[in-house]
Symmetry: C2
Subunit: 238 residues, 2 copies
């Protein structure tokens, strides 16, 4: 399983993913689920993945191959973020369809979804959720966050605190607390975490960190949140 | 959809269910999902249901019919709560199987699960989750709560505050806040709510209330919890 969340704010994009993959409960591994592509000042793209690892890795490899071909069309050269979303969706659908075709009754396992975030020079920051079939939806000011994977445990905190006006600091806190709730409730979502911040209008990544299980700041935040919840709980009267 | 939760505490059993049922998103109705059976001082049983309404209503009707037959075996006459669980499980599985047999490809819709709580004189309070096939699991001090239906949104608060030592007042607060998070995130779970409290060793229901959408105490609690979460969020430093 997986949990990835992306926020689309007035001040930029904030993304967080876990790294746990499993083929059955007895085969657990750590794989990066966040991929970034950056030409500072010109274009920045981040992709987070959930679902079949063979599908997502192959899709990302092909997207990278296209970038490596000089003068060819790729997610770093097409005109708009919408075209980037269409290119990623088409590639995901194509890879998934080919693998599914060889899997017979297991075809439904060859599915994956992605969150695509980015900004090109001259455009706005945009955030998409790409479905296994390649179609997609886009975050708006009404719903400024998108999630893939195990999304339910971490949604209540986002519903309550995230708006387009949220600051980058509060946004980082919100996605980390959303992940904290998910980590506590679902063993198939696991540390370390990958966090990425893309400020509006700069077409670059301002912060890209891996947070491991021993990270003292994350641990302290997790404890503080638990304490705040318990204190808030005790203060409520019925 | 549905959300029902039951807590097994040293001081007793606390149960909460919603009342929303739907056959498609455009066909929504209110149905009771909590049924209670009481012979004060001797035996008290509460059953909460999730899944196919035709399966759960027929199962409950048959359990009631058995009670109404003088001197026949029923959930009010068998020796232990374990036997009650076996009787409810067998009835659920039987009704579900018969309906599924007539539904062809739609057979998977004829499924339901239940939470069974109760105490007989001379026994301990017990809490069971009964699966569609009639088998069941039981709450223990390690895991003092059971949920059916849309369980994920409301689990983080239970994980953090519920232990066997929780008081009845705190337990009511915990299940109501757990429901509040679920109501906010899933439209197919809806007011009014049914709350039931069964104190240990008394074999009776001490509190049985319906909480409707206009209930001022519940509304105030919901607002206070939102405020506590936002305040806690603001106080955390990263």
């Amino acid at each position: 399983m997986t949990y990835c969340v992306g926020l689309l704010l007035d001040v930029g994009l904030v993304l967080l993913s876990d790294t746990r993959t499993n083929a059955g409960l007895d085969n657990i591994a750590t794989y990066r689920k966040m991929y970034t592509f950056e030409e500072p000042g010109e274009r920045v793209i981040a992709i987070m993945t959930a679902g079949s690892l063979s599908v997502t890795q192959t899709t990302l490899s092909r997207l990278q191959d296209a970038i490596d071909i000089p003068d060819g069309p790729s997610i770093m050269t097409v005109d708009t973020m919408l075209e980037v979303a269409e290119m990623v969706g088409a590639m995901l659908s194509d890879v998934s369809g080919k693998i599914a075709g060889r899997m017979g009754e297991q075809a439904s396992a060859a599915r994956a979804s992605m969150i695509l975030a980015g900004q090109r020079r001259g455009g706005e920051p945009r955030l998409f959720l790409i479905y296994p079939e390649g179609n997609f939806i886009e975050a708006t000011s009404d719903t400024p966050f998108l999630q893939i994977g195990e999304h339910k445990y971490g949604k209540p905190i986002l519903d309550r605190v995230v708006t387009p006006e949220t600051t980058l600091e509060d946004a980082k806190k919100a996605v980390l607390l959303s992940m904290d709730s998910t980590l506590r409730s679902n063993l198939s979502v696991g540390m370390p975490l990958d966090l990425c911040v893309i400020p509006s209008g700069e077409q670059r990544i301002s912060e890209r960190v891996r947070i491991d299980a021993e990270d003292e700041t994350f641990q302290a935040m997790s404890v503080a949140w638990s304490n705040a919840l318990r204190r808030g709980f005790q203060e409520i009267e019925i």
